[in-house]
């Protein structure tokens, strides 16, 4: 899966270009782990993500924990389906979703 990375000031924006499931999640994990140490805050742009499975949730949670104490993690452009997945799993409360 292709992943777009944009760095501005000390904020990194990561945009996965496809669905996040157990096949594609490892690539996303790698990217997040690479970018997290140097970033002050992280943005996950979910505009191209049509659905996310439990593997994807793991990746998001991982990112959230890595950015804790710093500027944190923000999720943007979350569509309805992905949002309902977050609702279903109570991630909505924990995450910073715009």
């Amino acid at each position: 899966m292709q992943i777009d990375i944009k760095k501005e000031d000390r904020t990194v924006t990561i945009k996965p270009l496809g669905n996040i499931d157990y096949v594609t999640a490892p690539a996303l994990d790698e990217t997040i782990e690479k970018e997290a140490p140097m970033a002050e805050s992280m943005v996950l742009d979910m505009s191209e993500v049509k659905y996310i499975s439990s593997a994807g949730l793991r990746s998001v949670l991982n990112a959230d924990e890595l950015m804790e104490g710093k500027g944190g993690l923000r999720l943007v452009n979350v569509n309805n389906e992905v949002r309902s997945i977050f609702d279903m799993t109570n991630f909505t409360e924990m995450l910073n979703i715009e």
């Binding site: 669905n19 049509k50 659905y51 439990s54 793991r58 389906e81 279903m88």
Partner: protein
Amino acid sequence: MTDVHDDLYREAFKRNEIRANQLAATALVAWALIGIVWIAINSFSSVYMESHRVDLLVTSIFAKMAVAGVFFAIPDKGAPWIRYLLLATTIGCTYVLTAYISNLLLIGYILPVLVSTLYCDKRMIIVTAALCSVLMLVSLIVYNEDNPMIGMYYGMTKLDVIISLIQVHYVPASGVYFTGVAIAYFALVKNIEQIQEYVDIGSDMKMYERDLSLASEIQHDMLPGGFPDMENCRMAASMKAAKTVGGDFYDCFRMDDGRIVTVMADVSGKGMPASLFMVKAMTLIRSNVKSSKDLSDAMEKANDQLFENNRMKYFVTVWISAVDPRTGTVEYVNAGHNPPFRISRGNVSKVTSKPDFVFGRKKNMVFHTRSLELEDGDRMFMFTDGVTEAVGPDGSMFGEERLEKALSESETRSPEEVLTYVSEKMGEFVKDMPQSDDITMMVMDYSAPDPTAIRVKADKEGHGRMMEHLSKTLSEMECPPSVTSSLEVACSEIFSNIDMYAYKDMDTKGDVEFDIAMSDDHITITFTDWGVPFDPLGHEDPDPVDNFRKHRKGGLGIMMVKKIADCVTYERDGERNILKITKEI
């Protein structure tokens, strides 16, 4: 090895004992009858025999009849004491005859010696011969007391008489006697050797039979017991060897690319050598074809490998096919084998092609791959020439016409029933004639796969294909996008579970079958896998989200599936896990 040998040895000698006893007893009876006849003749002739002699004769006749009678009456005719009774009677009667009735019968002592040879016992013959040679002298002397052949003359002592008896009568008689003993002994030794030889041959044969039936079991185990589970291809096969081990074989396995391979083969020759070659051929074909992408290439490699070390110049005719169960495309190679029949829409036709040369006989051969397309409901009947060349009582062969007729008549039956039906028709034709060649048959029924179902490997590539198939099918069914999306999540979850756990302990990843069905108000998706029994509904995680956050434990995926789907059911059916989810639309 030795216990088979010893058993046979003991058995052989036990049987000999009984037979020997019977002969000895019969000899006694015959001898008694001769005595009776002699008395009868004597009473009508003018030759006078003293009454005490006649009495002795009658007594000995009675004794012989009595002993023989006892023998024929008792059940265990092999009892160890019988031989001694019979022999003692024979010796005793000989003594009576020579000591009291007529010394001319001195050489009659050879009779007990002959009887003793029946027992195949060297010791017995030696003891009997020695005893009889002594008795011969004793009876000579005793007889001479009453009927002087050499009388006492003036100045002769008893000793002188005995010495002249020995010189005149005993020496010549014993010359003949001992010659007879020597011949009898020699014959005995030869007889014993012969029995031993027969026992050796017998035990070798018994062992060979045992080995042969073991080999037959091993060979039987080699043939595929079941067939790869495919919903739309049903198969059955049978092999009946002419001898205990055969040279025909069939095989069926899955290639790495998912195609089903069928092999039908016939090795030149029968029995043990052909079956050993068969094992080699079968193994080489399987190993080369399974992982190959090109049937011709695989067969050419296998051919060269089989050719190596084939000094005996055996060969095998092969008809091999690779069937794609998703499309019905069949690629096949014919290496000198009789072509199979195809039954399509009621028509029975031969799948003819220009055959390539037989397999394993020449190096660097070329094998051509041809193809055909199976239609929904088609049947393939593969066989070896043992079927068509089965010979009937009038010398004619079963032939292709009768086979075609049988296939046509059994068109609507199941693959197993077809095998039974053809076997029955063959049985009716050959009647009692012996089977001269191995008879092997394989049936494959093809039905076009369900378009809403697909079968993929339980890996990431399979996941991609499944997701594609899912979104395509759902859009064809005009499923609302939100439902589609959540079903996609659920299916991805379920598939990832199967990928990660179902085939964990197996060498190769198995498959997942994925089927979508839609009715008026709901969609049902079914996952089937052939992995370890796993009921995802079995372990309820009380707080999967929390567990997930705190301990990264699984269970989150299943919780999601349960929330997305309206109904989730799990079933274990034989070797399969079947998971169904239903969603209302």
